[in-house]
């Protein structure tokens, strides 16, 4: 779709804001609607839009498949790591309250970290699946 002016211009205008919105949903999930899952999906949607408008190869140069593939397990490991950290600090698995002196602050930190883990894994999986299908199409 690279040769079509209107989708290209609209995508160019919108993609930065979609990415920014994804980060807003990610970090603002405990105040407004949304959270890690929604943020990850919105982020992936922005990358997929980029790959649809400007070519798959261009998108893969910006967001490398190998890096995305690494992000997938990293998110889940971050989630589990928070659980193990709370256990090392003397609480039970995923008891965020022990992360800081004030239990409420600990809860905030724990929720922020696990939401980041969820967002990383979801964005990684969505982009990986899209790359996989799109490569299968362009191989033919």
């Amino acid at each position: 779709m690279r040769d079509q002016a209107v989708p290209r211009v609209v995508a160019k205008l919108l993609i930065p804001y979609i990415l920014l919105y994804a980060f807003y949903v990610q970090w603002h999930g405990d105040y407004g609607p949304g959270g890690g899952f929604q943020a990850g999906v919105i982020f992936a949607a922005a990358i997929i839009l980029y790959a649809l408008i400007f070519d798959l190869r261009t998108a893969q140069q910006a967001i490398r498949p190998r890096v995305v593939g690494l992000l997938v397990p990293l998110g889940l490991l971050l989630y589990i790591g928070v659980g193990i950290a709370t256990m090392l600090k003397g609480g039970v698995f995923l008891e965020y309250g022990v992360l800081e002196h004030d239990p409420v602050h600990g809860q905030h930190l724990g929720i922020l970290l696990i939401e980041l883990g969820v967002g990383t894994t979801v964005a990684g999986v969505m982009i990986t699946i899209f790359y996989g299908f799109a490569e299968a199409v362009s191989d033919r």
Partner: protein, 187 residues
């Protein structure tokens, strides 16, 4: 005036659902399915569930539509003519639909504070989470903290789904490489 929006949205949802079932061209069916998801997202935000509406708009209308379209370009974009009459599926759907509507008669009204689901753990979440968790969005507090195990499991499910798709697609590609190698060996 709220009921006007409800009825218009639900009527549009029904109309798009019937359109999807009637369409033979899979390309247009995928696009209409995206519209269906977008209407579903509107319906969720009418029901005061912005978290679900977000997900529905991004996953249903965005990513899954793209994935279906990519799949269509790998397979075919025209549905095959069914070999049997649509009578049996129609009867099954009608009976299931009637049973579901019959089931809703016993359901409490939406948002009824006396509903059994709202009397179990919900009051504790609502009363205690402001000073236990201190997060204004109660949905996040429940998802990430009270039910952290569930969300961990869900994240693991998403990871497993991604790994499964990559194994399937990668396996197909490896077989093709092997076939190409065989051809080269023979030549």
């Amino acid at each position: 005036m709220n009921w006007v929006i409800d009825i218009v949205l639900l009527a549009l949802l029904m109309f798009t659902a019937v359109t999807i079932a009637r369409l033979r061209g899979l390309f247009s069916a995928a696009i209409v399915a995206g519209i269906y998801s977008l209407l579903g997202a509107c319906w969720m935000s009418v029901l005061d569930q912005p978290d679900v509406a977000f997900t529905e708009a991004a996953v249903g209308a965005g990513i899954s539509t793209v994935l279906i379209l990519v799949t269509l370009s790998l397979t075919t974009s025209e549905e095959k003519e069914p070999k049997h009459t649509p009578l049996l599926p129609l009867v099954v759907v009608l009976i299931t639909g009637a049973a579901l509507i019959y089931g809703t008669i016993d359901m409490p009204r939406l948002g009824d504070p006396q509903a059994p689901t709202n009397l179990h753990v919900a009051p504790r979440y609502i009363e205690e989470s402001p000073h236990e968790i201190g997060v204004p969005n109660l949905v996040t507090a429940v998802l990430a903290s009270y039910r952290g195990y569930d969300t961990l499991g869900e994240t693991a499910v998403i990871l497993t789904a991604g790994v499964g798709v990559m194994i399937l697609l990668g396996g197909a590609r490896r077989r093709r490489w092997r076939a190409d190698d065989d051809k080269r060996d023979r030549a």
